[in-house]
């Protein structure tokens, strides 16, 4: 059967439930958590290998036919994203074994990590707009608990800001869902797409599109809606901020890609100027914000914003090459960003601090950590032959073909400024002499460090593979873009075989 589409949702659900039942046995929870993450990765890769053959698999839950029941559907974009979730989930689950303190682990870290993964996979796989809202809430609740877990003062402050602004986004999303449902009478995305392309109620729907743009904009942290992100992402332990930095904002980008390519493609010209402006402004503000920061993970948090700008840029240009660039950028950025956050966590473990002025001397003490930082950092800045180069190359080329020259200038300068930020971290944390005063770090165990390094190493290696052997991945991204630009395939897959 088509259980394969559901496995990425069911595996973390069962893992989380089992972790709840084994609350008093943290050791078993750790085994379960890693096993569950491996299973998600395997399921995601299986799904991707099926989708790569051009097949779109859809399942009607409960056997209720398509526009009435809930549809779960995996096309190329969804499958790629789910496979990446599997990778990040596994990396973070392994890293957390020693990267998260025992107290947090015994207060349900593993259960909530899997609840978060379930929410993310669900959002990527659902074919129903209201269901997408539900998955957003699952994600929000799980990530709220993760941010607040441990209950330190800074954490709670970050968590409040995080949850408040995201609740506003959810409310807006729900309002847009209501507007769509009252005008069209369906929430199945494929059915919506079919009705919208023929309906003459488009003026009302532009309103819904606008509200959705703001709702997803908050989730994706675009200009000027990004304030919650730098206020909260650096507060929890590195493993938690890594999984959030890697995945959560990208769900917002995914939702924009899906909704605007599927539902509002018919008048994309109408929203295009907005997207172009947002893309440029997001890139610039993110990178300038980073320049003013002095914390390792704070800098990285601001860079998430500027990277989101690049992804929106691809969506704004809306040609096959640009969308392929966005998809490639999503994958590249998730890998590189998570890996950088994990490295920041290791550095913090060595030095007891996340502040750049306390770091320093890491190059002399830990050469390997320096290399581990350098690969994703250079990749983020877009240095060939790493993955970020190809992602930026595709976007800039697409932008040139479409004649958006101003955006090219912005993208180039932001790339340079990204490099500047990375050199700042490099100079302060790695190159500079060891500072005289520095907080005393917790005792370290070589075995613990090994388990923390392993996932960062794997992600850095993936980033190199994605860069050096870019062609097959890029072809896949291109196929994804073509699938996105021909929504009929998606619509038929959902509504056709019922």
């Amino acid at each position: 059967m088509h259980l394969i589409v559901l496995l990425p949702i069911l595996i973390p659900l069962f893992t989380a439930a089992a972790c709840l039942l084994l609350w008093k046995q943290p050791a078993l929870q750790r085994v379960l958590s890693v096993t569950g993450a491996v299973a998600i990765l395997v399921a995601g890769l299986r799904l991707l290998s099926t989708a790569a053959q051009g097949e779109i698999i859809s399942v009607q839950l409960g056997n209720w036919p398509a526009p009435f029941g809930i549809t779960v559907v995996a096309d190329l974009l969804s499958s790629i994203m789910v496979a990446i979730v599997g990778m990040i989930g596994l990396a973070v689950a392994v890293y957390a074994l020693f990267g998260i303190d025992r107290r947090r682990q015994s207060f349900g870290f593993h259960a909530f990590l899997h609840a978060l993964l379930m929410g993310v996979c669900g959002a990527f796989l659902t074919g129903d707009l209201f269901n997408l809202y539900v998955w957003f809430e699952v994600m929000l609740i799980a990530s709220f608990v993760l941010v607040a877990l441990g209950g330190e003062k800074t954490q709670l402050e970050g968590a409040i800001k995080y949850v408040t602004l995201n609740l506003i986004s959810s409310a807006l999303f729900l309002a847009a869902v209501g507007v769509l449902y009252s005008t069209v009478g369906t929430l199945n995305m494929a059915d919506l797409a079919r009705s919208l392309s023929s309906a003459d109620v488009r003026s009302v729907l532009s309103v819904a599109g606008g509200i959705l743009l703001i709702a997803f904009g908050i989730k994706a942290a675009v200009f000027p809606l990004f304030f919650w992100l730098p206020a909260s992402y650096h507060t929890p332990p590195a493993a938690i901020s890594a999984v959030m930095a890697g995945l959560l904002t990208k769900v917002g980008v995914y939702a924009m890609l899906r909704i605007f390519s599927l539902l509002f493609a018919y008048d994309f010209a109408y929203v295009q100027p907005v997207f172009l402006a947002v893309a440029g402004a997001t890139m610039v503000t993110g990178v300038l914000g980073a320049a003013a920061q002095t914390g390792f993970r704070r800098i990285l948090s601001f860079h998430i914003i500027s990277q989101i700008g690049y992804m929106i840029m691809g969506l704004a240009i809306f040609t096959p090459l640009a969308l392929a660039g966005t998809v490639f950028y999503l994958v590249h950025n998730i890998l590189a960003k998570t890996s950088l956050f994990l490295v920041a966590g290791i550095a913090q473990r060595f030095t007891g601090s996340d502040e750049l002025r306390h770091l320093g001397g890491l190059y002399r003490e830990r050469l390997w950590l320096t290399i581990l930082f350098l690969v994703p950092a250079l990749s983020l800045a877009g240095i060939p032959p790493l993955s970020g180069f190809w992602a930026k190359f595709a976007l800039i080329r697409a932008s040139m073909e479409a004649g958006h020259y101003l955006l090219i200038v912005v993208a180039f300068s932001v790339g340079l400024l990204t490099l500047y930020s990375m050199t700042k971290i490099w100079g302060e944390a790695f190159w500079k002499e060891k500072p005289a005063e520095r907080p005393v770090p917790d005792k370290l165990d070589a075995r613990e460090i090994r388990w923390m390094v392993l996932p960062s190493l794997a992600l850095a290696a993936m980033s190199i593979i994605l860069g050096v052997g870019a062609e097959p991945f890029f072809l896949l991204a291109y196929a994804t873009a073509e699938q996105l630009l021909n929504p009929n395939q998606y619509i038929n897959a959902v509504l056709g075989d019922t």
Binding site: M1, L3, L6, L10, A17, L21, V59, G62, N63
Partner: protein, 135 residues
Amino acid sequence: MSSLVLSTATRYLLPVLLMFSVFLLIRGHNEPGGGFVGGLTAAAAFALFAIASGVERARQMLWFHPRTLLGTGLLFAAGAGLLAVTAGSPYMTGLWTSFEMPAVGKLGTPLVFDVGVYLVVVGMVLMIVLELAEE
């Protein structure tokens, strides 16, 4: 702040409320009701008992930790959907036996799902209520 009236009344109310919650759960099969309201009623019953006789005794009375109920409920609800997969239908398809139970009607996987929801709701609400009552 123990009140004789409340604790005496609760002694009689608790079993009635619990039976009513099961009634709601089973009735929800074909008519208004279901696992969610049933679970809320059961949780309210235990919350009432906690107010009347103290949180400690309520936890003893509950026998399981609310968290365990929550986890078991999730497994029930998600597992009920899997049964359909083994029969070759899409996930969550309702499977029905031909066995007709008086007052309940036909038995099937949706009932298992509802029991799961019931447990999740009881576990979730009591986890919050008992925790807050202990503060």
